[in-house]
């Protein structure tokens, strides 16, 4: 059997801007998101949260709440069995169920303001609220610590008395808030710096920021008398939710069926569980469905932001611009439990550059903040911001064009990254070239305006994926994927299926199957869902094509080498072509029963070969010296997509990531009072970019094919948030002459810096 080339020019739909199959439902209000599900007889669940940043929970008395008419179930720490301490890989992060169970419901102590302490299910919202007030919790308030550097000091309030720093020899004999020390090394850093003609060393600070998905966490659970459990929730990975809930509640995985709702944004923040196990536990007690939805305040206080951090970078270069030695020390907030993205931050820091001597040390530090969750390229924007700032300073010192300096040192095919692997074909140089060729790069600027450039890197992942294609009785195709569609996945996969099978795009109907419908799927994250999903679809289509060819051989009494699948048909070859006519998929569908039964394929893969994606961003901005406000004037993103399955949604990833990065750079931050309480837990005070804050974002698709993928695809979702922080900081320096080393560069901070400079007489 011969096959069509998947990488050839014959693609009809891949690479085009098709209308997404789920689009009409989403522009008419029909699409059902997490909070849009209801069941007859459902109860409303609410969570009681700690008002203290750090407190021992002496006792919890629920008797008064339980006696309130309409209250049907209450759960506390007593309803969740303790879990042994063991670290399990969770995509781009690590997790430990001992901590997960404590984050879902506080145990010995409340470790941050907003930490769940109890949950109730009642017949109405009003009764649930009243019940929370009747729960009597006795706290012993403890000293708290918010700042990462303070948390590392000896004598700092200790969150976990059994936490001893891992990764240091000898093992410490005293517990501390430093959970882990990680390190990567390449070459000889000391020798490297002796070769440098110029060295820049600086310390940077970034604030904790939230993923800011518009849809609050929501879950609806229904547990029957025999323990069968159904759950509808907004998540990036319903198979992962199932696994976590089974573990935390002692259920068989097979007893739980999780349906992922449409998801209203996640960006990594919906890869963990918060409400889901509570809703199941409450439903199990009440024997009625329980619906739980977080308020925006709860989302800010109790769901994962990403780390704030302190980063020190030291970079050395020769006078002609060759980077020779690079050192960085990263201190990342983990929140109340260990597990910050400091490891990927460490690995990414210098990944865009080919440097002989590299040494990066990272610390994972707990403090009285909500436990961090993944956020788009977790860890990378922080360390790469610091590095890109220092790269820019080297360029200025050596009077070398910042794009040329990056080009001179850029990682390319064959470069050995300090974190281990040797890169295959990658597109960093192409993105630098693309940016340099723009009209944007060559436009003049005025006073108080500045231009900045920065590059960025993210690994991307593959992972376990299962997707199916079914040929229906009329020849239409049902496509089922098991990773929630967060930004156009259905459109991408439907295009691949249509091209693979040679059927019209609108004859492919994609859905996201529940956990009972497909084999295990890892979550939508790590920029993996289009990459891995399309590989699984190619595999499923291959099975169908093989099967149809076999059926044709039977019908035609032919040998396998007398038929081929192409253009949506099984075609007879050679002499056979004179005897029989090609058969379309629809023709086979009609005779499926007579030729072997239902026709379909299931791709079950552990996708390997995710190609890293590099990007370069270019930004123009203007600083208002009166107010300190920064306006983004113009923005260009160039990124290597490998092969854009759907160019519009790839551009959308570039644009959306850039604007999230703009928010991170200029405005967003978790602000704590001296009492350890979050002061800006709402969209008015946690200032995310709105439409009037940003210009159009020009997106340049660079396509350096990934040889490990049948279409050349690379993940694209995460890299776009990496370069903006550095690019904007560099543009700020260009506009003001001031090197801002602390994020966000919000109006008060910018104004203060301008005033300090004017006082020092350097204006």
């Amino acid at each position: 059997m011969a096959e069509t080339m998947t990488n050839g020019p014959s693609q009809t739909y891949v690479g085009t801007r098709t209308i997404r199959p789920d689009g009409v439902d989403k522009v008419t209000g029909r699409a059902r998101f997490g909070a849009d599900f209801d069941l007859p007889g459902q109860l409303i669940g609410r969570v009681l949260r700690s008002p203290h940043a750090h407190a021992r929970i002496v006792s919890i008395d629920v008797s008064k709440a339980a006696a309130l008419p309409g209250v049907k179930a209450i759960v506390t720490r007593d309803d969740f069995a303790d879990q042994p301490s063991e670290f399990i890989p969770a995509g781009e992060m690590m997790m430990n169920y001992r901590d997960v169970v404590r984050n879902v419901m506080a145990r010995e102590k409340a470790l941050y303001e907003g930490h769940a302490v109890a949950a109730v299910a009642a017949t109405s919202v009003a009764i649930a609220r009243r019940a929370l007030k009747l729960i009597d919790v006795t706290y012993e308030v403890l000293p708290h610590v918010i700042d990462v550097v303070e948390a590392m000091q000896p004598g700092a309030p200790l969150l976990h008395p059994d936490l001893f720093t891992a990764g240091v020899e000898p093992k410490p004999d005293q517990p501390s808030n430093i959970a882990k020390r990680v390190e990567i090394k390449q070459g000889d850093i000391e020798a490297g710096f002796t070769k440098a003609d110029v060295i820049v060393e600086r310390e940077f600070k970034t604030a904790a920021v939230h993923q800011g998905y518009l849809e609050p966490h929501a879950a609806l659970a229904s547990v029957s008398e025999d323990g069968s459990t159904e759950l509808w929730c907004s998540t990036q990975g319903h198979f992962i939710v199932r696994a976590h809930c089974a573990r935390l509640l002692g259920l068989d995985i097979g007893k739980i069926r999780v349906t992922a709702s449409e998801i209203g944004g996640g960006f990594g923040g919906k890869t963990v569980v918060y409400l889901e196990p509570l809703a199941i536990a409450l439903s199990r007690k009440a024997k009625r469905p329980v619906k739980m939805v977080m308020s925006r305040e709860e989302v800010f206080k109790a769901s994962g932001p990403t780390s704030g951090a302190t980063v020190r970078v030291k970079l050395g270069a020769t006078k002609d611009g060759k980077f020779v030695a690079a050192f960085a020390e990263l201190k990342y907030q983990a929140g109340a439990f260990q597990g910050s993205p400091v490891q990927p931050g460490t690995m990414c820091a210098f990944a865009p550059y080919d440097i002989e001597h590299v040494h990066v040390i990272g610390y994972d530090v707990v403090s009285n903040r909500p436990k961090v969750a993944a956020y788009r390229a977790p860890g990378a924007p922080i360390s790469e911001y610091a590095v890109e700032s220092v790269v820019d300073e080297i360029a200025k010192k050596l009077d070398i064009d910042p794009i040329d300096l990056r080009m001179q040192n850029a990682a390319h095919e064959g470069t050995k990254a300090a974190y281990g692997p040797k890169f295959g074909p990658i597109g960093l140089e192409e993105t630098l070239n693309a940016v340099k060729k723009t009209e944007h790069w060559n436009t003049p600027l005025r006073k108080w305006q500045g231009r900045g450039v920065a590059s960025g890197f993210w690994f991307n992942i593959g992972g376990e994926t299962c997707a199916s294609l079914t040929v229906n009785e009329d020849g239409t195709i049902s496509l089922m994927a098991g990773t929630p569609d967060i930004g156009g996945l259905r459109a991408s996969l439907a295009a691949v299926a249509a091209d693979e099978l040679g059927v019209p795009y609108d004859k492919v109907q994609p859905i996201i199957g529940d956990t009972g419908s497909l084999g295990f799927n890892f979550l939508t994250g790590g920029s993996r869902s289009a990459f891995s999903g399309s590989m699984a679809i190619v595999e499923a289509a291959k099975q169908i094509k093989t099967d149809l060819c076999a059926r044709a051989c039977k019908l035609w009494e032919a040998e396998p080498d007398q038929v081929e699948f192409s253009g949506g048909h099984v075609k007879p070859l050679g002499a056979l072509a004179e005897k029989v006519k090609p058969m379309s998929i629809a023709d086979f569908a009609k005779v499926a029963g007579k030729t072997g039964g239902p026709i379909g394929g299931v791709g079950r893969i552990n996708a390997q070969g995710a190609g890293p994606s590099f990007g370069t961003h270019l930004v123009d901005l203007e600083v208002d010296p009166e107010t300190g406000r920064v306006t983004i004037l113009r923005y260009t993103v160039a990124q290597d997509a490998g092969r854009a399955l759907h160019p519009a949604y790839v551009e959308g990833q570039f644009q959306g990531g850039a604007v999230q990065g703009i928010g991170w750079a200029l405005n967003e931050e978790y602000i704590y009072g001296p009492d350890g309480k979050l002061q800006n837990a709402g969209f008015l005070d946690y200032r995310m970019p709105v439409a009037s804050d940003v210009p159009m974002i020009d997106a340049i698709l660079v396509e350096v094919g990934n040889p490990k993928h049948p279409y050349g695809v690379r993940g694209v979702g995460e890299t776009p948030i990496v370069p903006p922080l550095g690019a904007i900081a560099n543009a700020m320096e260009n506009a003001t002459g001031i090197r801002f080393t602390e994020l966000p560069m919000s109006p008060p901070r910018v104004l203060r810096a301008l005033k300090e400079r004017s006082l020092s007489g350097r204006a």
Binding site: V27, T28, A35, H646, Q655, V659, V690, S692
Partner: protein, 158 residues
């Protein structure tokens, strides 16, 4: 306390419902009338995901009480398409890929349509400021603004 009995017109249909004093129009739309196209992103009027028209005026349904809408006309995302025909703005949102996750989309469409009812010649700056009350975390706004501008241009031509 007894619930309020309210009669109103929603998407052209006469409706009556009972609501508590503290229930918002958004609560009524979603929980009582089962019109879940309007979304709750913040419940404080900051995100615009619950944008609806109240007697022809753009409002956040989370900032209006259910018992305030007696005798008034409410239009939600569910009333935007006419029969099988999408509103031109809905169509352009699809063509421009102006949505990724889609949670903010109903609010943007209701707000964008309200702008187009005031002017078919908005500048990019006008579009951006008009939509500044609607948060989108996925798209960076580029394709949303393009879709609105493009719809206005098409509607100008008739």
């Amino acid at each position: 306390m007894a619930k309020h009995h309210i009669e109103a017109v929603v998407n052209g249909d006469a409706v009556e419902f009972l609501c508590e004093t503290e229930e918002t129009l958004l609560d009524v739309l979603r929980d009582t009338l089962h019109l879940t196209g309007s979304k709750e992103g913040c419940a404080s009027g900051d995100c615009g995901a619950c944008s609806v028209m109240l007697d022809g005026r753009l409002v956040c349904a989370c900032l209006v009480l259910g018992c305030e809408v007696g005798g008034r006309h409410v239009e939600t995302i569910e009333g935007m398409a006419k029969g099988e025909t999408l509103h031109p703005l809905q169509q352009r949102f699809l063509e421009h890929a102006a949505l990724q996750c889609g949670i903010c989309t109903p609010g943007f469409l209701v707000a964008g349509k309200a702008l187009l009812e005031r002017t078919l010649s908005p500048t990019e700056t006008e579009v951006r400021y008009w939509l500044a009350g609607n948060l989108c975390r996925c798209t960076g706004y580029d394709k949303i603004v393009s879709a609105v501008m493009d719809t206005a241009a098409a509607m100008r031509k008739g």
